[in-house]
């Protein structure tokens, strides 16, 4: 099913005995055609995968009366749904967006601080034979509901209910296993020679970690950051249970549009669109790191 149409290597090209110019252009044209057909297929795939989001964009611009023509574009596009999703409906969405942002960013920070040194210690320094780190992975097997009451009680007694900090801690709990899985994979792939060499040169563990390991791990760290941000941004259950008015994230705020009168499809679609932009933006921002981190790393290696 996969079309492995690579650009012809120098070997293949020189291997084909031909001196005619038209053959050259034909080959180039065939190559261009192959590449463009790959693009076309990619466009089709991403179109199919994004049908819900594309539909959300369409619906978010339609006034309620035009909901019954699902395949047509809005005849009188309106921005009222976006206005509602940003607070015009009376729900404090600007605060919800800010909360989600702070919670997600905070979780990324806390996760990186906690897991990077600990994974290195566990897997490379054999701290506790790596058991602490790997047993945490098992946490992911529990549905979030299992933690609902314990965390609620804990936060109630420590005054962390309805705070952004509390939700950062809760989301860190949820994302620890994911971060550890990805980091373990990354750390285990590190070539040990460089660290050996640095240690022989007398560098301390901390120096090695900071100056050598972390830079090489950059793409993994970016992946952890992006995915942690994403899962925290999209988290619902803890947001619901632990927040009430101050620290409500958007996912919980969105539930305001699911009313006992019915579902405000237009407003929810607008909110879905807006809500996806942020993690996407974070991913684009981080992708720069990803790309640059990898190429430089490869050269270094």
């Amino acid at each position: 099913m996969t079309k492995m149409t690579q650009a012809p290597t120098p070997q293949q090209q020189t291997g084909i005995l031909s001196t005619s110019a038209t053959d050259g252009t034909r080959r180039r044209r065939r190559k261009a055609l192959r590449l463009w057909s790959v693009t076309a297929l990619a466009v089709l795939i991403s179109f199919l995968l994004n049908l819900p989001l594309l539909n959300a964009i369409n619906v978010s611009l339609k006034p309620d009366a035009q909901m019954n023509a699902p395949l047509s574009a809005p005849t009188t596009p309106t921005l009222e749904h976006y206005a509602n999703a940003l607070g015009a409906a009376g729900y404090d969405f600007p605060t919800f967006f800010l909360n989600s942002f702070l919670i997600s960013l905070g979780t990324v920070g806390l996760i990186l601080i906690i897991t990077v040194p600990a994974c290195y210690a566990g897997l490379r320094l054999q701290f506790a034979k790596g058991l602490v780190v790997t047993s945490i992975i098992g946490l992911r097997l529990l549905p979030a509901i299992f933690f609902a009451i314990p965390i609620y009680v804990l936060f109630m007694t420590t005054g962390l209910l309805d705070t952004v900090v509390g939700l950062v801690l809760a989301n860190t709990l949820l994302n620890l296993p994911l971060a550890i899985v990805l980091l373990s994979s990354g750390i285990n792939d590190l070539p040990q020679e460089i660290e050996e060499a640095a240690r022989v040169d007398g560098a301390s563990v901390y120096r090695i970690l900071r100056a050598i390991v972390v830079p090489i791990l950059a793409p993994t760290l970016v992946a952890v950051a992006v995915l942690t941000f994403l899962f925290s941004w999209n988290e619902y259950l803890f947001g619901l249970i632990l927040s009430s008015t101050q620290s409500t994230p958007i996912t919980v705020g969105a539930a305001n549009f699911v009313t006992s009168y019915g579902i405000r499809w237009g407003d929810l679609s607008a909110l879905t669109v807006l809500s996806s932009i942020v993690p996407l933006g974070f991913a684009i921002f981080a992708q720069r790191f990803l790309v640059s981190g990898m190429t430089v790393g490869a050269v270094k290696g």
């Binding site: 702070l102 920070g109 990186l112 705070t163 952004v164 100056a211 619901l240 009313t259 019915g262 640059s292």
Partner: protein, 445 residues
């Protein structure tokens, strides 16, 4: 270079964390003037919630200042409010002073609440007070009512009734689907057989000239609210959940009720997607000419006749009694209950007293709410054309499911046991037997 970037990013994240810690600390300072009592209550979003918010805002600006009480609403979605409240009750939390409750869950929540003794009960429907009374004590103050209607397309039904030729066709279809040759009747006088026959008449599969694709839009999703609608059939057939203190779901009335749903679904008188349908799906079906009538929540009516929301059918929808011998319609009441662990009971009770008044209820109705108050409903017909129907139907035909600690659970269990049978996936007798034993277990708990 990379290291610096990573460190920079992490520092940003930490700063954000720090900011967040500071900001959440400072925010709690502006929750009203420090000397007033801050009463926190939970509310559903939507038109009822919006209407109440207006009353709250007005109170905070006027009477609340005199009473030294400021009310803060915490909005949670219809699906999750009770889950969150359950968590808080289990943790004996003092975060909320007035829990949002309903007659179908008050029995479960009662051990965590204080009874209310100073409520003027005469202001409300009898069935509303009954619905919020547990073991003889009133546990919540009613706010609004929600009941079910038979909502139908006036234009299509009138056309059918006026045309003798169509009567013949109706008779033939009714024979085919039900085995009985019925004549069309006004919806207000329907039996469940009439409902089924009319649904068949308006289904294209049986009547290629039907103006709608299906006759009706059944709400057959595995959902507690759908059981409340199905209860209409059970009660109007003369049945009940409980008889002489014992579970009575294997009665003839119950069997007939399940069979009506089953016939409608398996004969294709409603869309096959009805197996996952509830309120919004039924709305969409009616709005798009894909159903001619349906059992639907009363709050739906206004938007169905609103040209901005339902351009295709606006002005053509009408309300009838629930079909069946007794025309029973489920009417649940929602209201506010006092948290046993609240630290602010005085403030909460002061606010509740204000809400109890006719002035407050009228304000609520004017803002779009449906108060549980027959007097206010009748006095405010101009605001909401469905008011007289609501008042009439609740007063004359309204019923509550038995209120006990297991009511909410029972709704969930019945949904799980019966929804399979509604869509023909499970044998009717077996489903009812399961439902009955679940209910028995709950009654014994």
């Amino acid at each position: 270079m990379r290291t610096r970037k990573v460190i920079a990013a992490t520092t940003c994240a930490l700063l954000a964390l720090g900011l967040a810690a500071c900001s959440s600390g400072s925010k709690s300072d502006d929750a009203g003037p420090p000397s007033s009592q801050n009463v926190r209550m939970v509310m559903f979003p939507g038109p009822q919630g919006d209407a109440l918010q207006k009353v709250v805002d007005n109170y905070n600006d006027t009477q609340g200042l005199k009473d030294n009480v400021q009310v803060q609403t915490v909005m949670l979605s219809r699906a999750d409010t009770f889950g969150k409240e359950a968590t808080q009750m289990a943790a004996k939390s003092s975060d909320i002073d007035l829990y949002f409750t309903a007659s179908y869950i008050i029995g479960q929540q009662a051990p965590n609440l204080d009874p209310l003794t100073t409520v003027d009960e005469s202001a409300y429907f009898d069935s509303s007070i009954e619905g919020l009374t547990v073991n003889g004590k009133l546990m919540a103050q009613p706010l609004n009512v929600s009941n079910t209607f038979l909502i139908y397309r006036k234009d299509l039904i009138e056309k059918l009734l006026d045309d003798p030729a169509e009567h013949k066709r109706y008779e033939a279809i009714s024979q085919e689907v039900l085995g009985k040759a019925l004549q069309p009747k006004a919806p207000d006088d329907w039996s469940w057989d009439d409902y089924t026959a009319a649904a068949a008449y308006f289904t294209k599969q049986y009547n290629p000239e039907s103006p709608t694709k299906y006759g009706t839009a059944l709400q057959a999703k595995n959902l507690s609210f759908n059981v409340m609608i199905w209860n209409d059939l059970l009660w109007s057939n003369g049945g009940n959940w409980i008889k002489n203190g014992k579970a009575d779901l294997t009665s003839d009335a119950a069997e007939a009720a399940v069979n009506t749903y089953r016939t409608i679904y398996t004969k294709g008188l409603t869309s096959p997607d009805s197996s996952s349908a509830e309120f919004p799906e039924t709305q969409a079906a009616l709005q798009n000419n894909n159903a001619a009538f349906a059992l639907q929540w009363s709050t739906a009516f206004n938007s169905l006749n609103d040209p901005k929301a339902s351009p295709n059918i606006a002005g053509n929808m009408a309300i009838a009694r629930i079909p069946g011998k007794l025309h029973s319609n489920h009417a649940h009441t929602q209201g506010f209950a006092l948290n046993k662990y609240s630290k602010n009971k005085d403030g909460a009770l002061t606010w509740l007293k204000f809400l109890n008044s006719e002035a407050a209820m009228t304000e609520f109705a004017a803002a779009g709410g449906i108060p549980a108050s027959p007097g206010v409903l009748e006095a405010n017909v101009a605001n909401n054309p469905s008011f007289p129907y609501i008042a009439d139907q609740i007063a004359n035909y309204g019923f509550n499911e038995p209120i006990f600690s297991g009511t909410f659970q029972a709704l969930g269990k019945l949904a799980a046991s019966l929804s399979g049978a509604w869509v023909g996936e499970k044998p009717v007798k077996e489903a009812l037997k399961d439902a009955n034993s679940e209910l028995t277990a709950l009654l014994d708990q």
